[in-house]
Symmetry: C2
Subunit: 266 residues, 2 copies
């Protein structure tokens, strides 16, 4: 299995602190040694760093954890291969363009028996179930809405419907962003927290490193962090109930759909 990390903010923020802890799980404190990747939106553009090496030994991961790239939407992934061999084209996150926007997708779970029919509009480059599902999701979005991107709440409802046609076929935790907002589906394990004023000190679980966010933030900043497992040991993380799809925008969860009663902090 893999681990996911996402960030959604109301002002461009760097993810160096969270990524530093997350990176340790790729061969240091965790067994996710089969590659890693991270995507940062900047405006409509996206930077995508991929490496089939363990993140704990990767020079590119070192650059990402040291070099503050500020973004309002970030998706990262460390991989423990269950489907598809260890190679660059099987490394998450995956990126495709739809409606003149980049879409970024990362998946934690496995859907081994899934072979959704693809019409050629979006085809997988590698051989993971994850990339195939991503291609299918985009294909279905385009088929329903043609050449015009619908409003984000319509996107949420449609993704919920599409996700539910697949959710009983395996484990399907995923993060998806078009640079405007971030969708998070919890099929089994996914946590989040929102950092906002009054800010305080956070301490990583995977490395003895703390940061005082009072030194780094403005009074109106809001930063949502989404992760498979909590990354800090002195903050309160919300466990997302299984079977929920969340829409994060401007640094907080603004809507969710689910069959289970959801725990909210707003």
């Amino acid at each position: 299995m893999c681990e996911l990390l996402g960030m959604n903010c109301n002002v461009p923020t760097d993810i160096c602190f969270s990524f530093r802890g997350f990176q340790q799980r790729g061969g240091g404190t965790g067994v996710h040694t089969d590659g890693w990747g991270i995507a940062f939106f900047e405006g409509r553009g996206a930077r995508l760093f991929l490496d089939p090496q363990p993140s704990v030994h990767s020079p590119i991961a070192r650059l990402v954890s040291d070099y503050p790239i500020r973004s309002c939407n970030v998706i990262a992934h460390i991989r423990k291969a269950t489907h598809g061999t260890v190679k660059l084209e099987n490394t998450h996150p995956f990126m495709r363009e739809l409606w003149g926007r980049q879409w970024i997708f990362a998946h934690n779970g496995k859907m081994p028996d899934l072979a959704p029919a693809l019409n050629g509009a979006f085809m997988p480059v590698g051989d993971t179930d994850s990339e195939r599902v991503f291609c299918w999701l985009l294909q279905e979005l385009r088929q329903r809405f043609g050449n015009v991107m619908p409003p984000r709440l319509t996107l949420l409802e449609t993704l919920w419907e599409l996700t539910n046609t697949l959710a009983d076929r395996g484990i399907f935790n995923y993060l998806l962003s078009n640079g405007d907002c971030l969708f998070a589906h919890c099929s089994e394990h996914l946590h989040y927290l929102v950092r906002r004023a009054p800010f305080s000190v956070a301490h990583l679980t995977d490395e003895d490193v703390s940061v005082d966010f009072r030194d780094l933030t403005g009074p109106k900043d809001s930063v949502a962090i989404i992760a498979t497992q909590p990354l800090t040991d002195n903050e309160v993380w919300q466990k997302m109930p299984p079977g929920t799809l969340w829409l994060f925008s401007d640094g907080e969860p603004i809507e969710y759909l689910g069959t289970h009663p959801a725990v909210r902090d707003k």
Copy 2:
């Protein structure tokens, strides 16, 4: 105007030496300060590094010039903006998936009056003429060949035909690769050389740095370097005649189409 750098090899090779000289032109020895990017194919996957900063000051460019990433097909670009502002989504190379392969494209020139009709299959994320033309090329390839990628010589002929419908609309030097081979169109300025045994010492034009390829290569290695302007001052670069489209594979030019008599070294 911008500058292009491409590499096509028969064995995965790093581009650290050539990129080191090329990078200097992004704000050091050259005026191309409006961003830079480089794409490396590894198998069917591609790593894409983009930065809207000048390459000479970019920490990511420093990583790329120091960290040997081995690849058989590389495309790099440094930008002097003529169309579209300086931002990430306007930074070359551009990447899209077609036929389950990544396609990478970078353009040197300008086509200011060009607005080819796009049907929505591939839409620009930024606002450069270059990305718009790339989307149009892929759209036309898909329309002609459906869901099956044709052989590379058929691709060459089709690209030649499509390119010629645009070539009188502006300056259209470009590099395009799907990870299998590399296409290079010379509209005005483009040079190449092939390094193969017996290898010798090469010296950069833009920095006082030499490399002895005898220490780094095997007897059967073949490496084609394509660049807007020669990168070394002690090797013989071939100037491509304007109005030619070249197909590079396994480290050498294997075919070209053009209205001008071409200079070949094979």
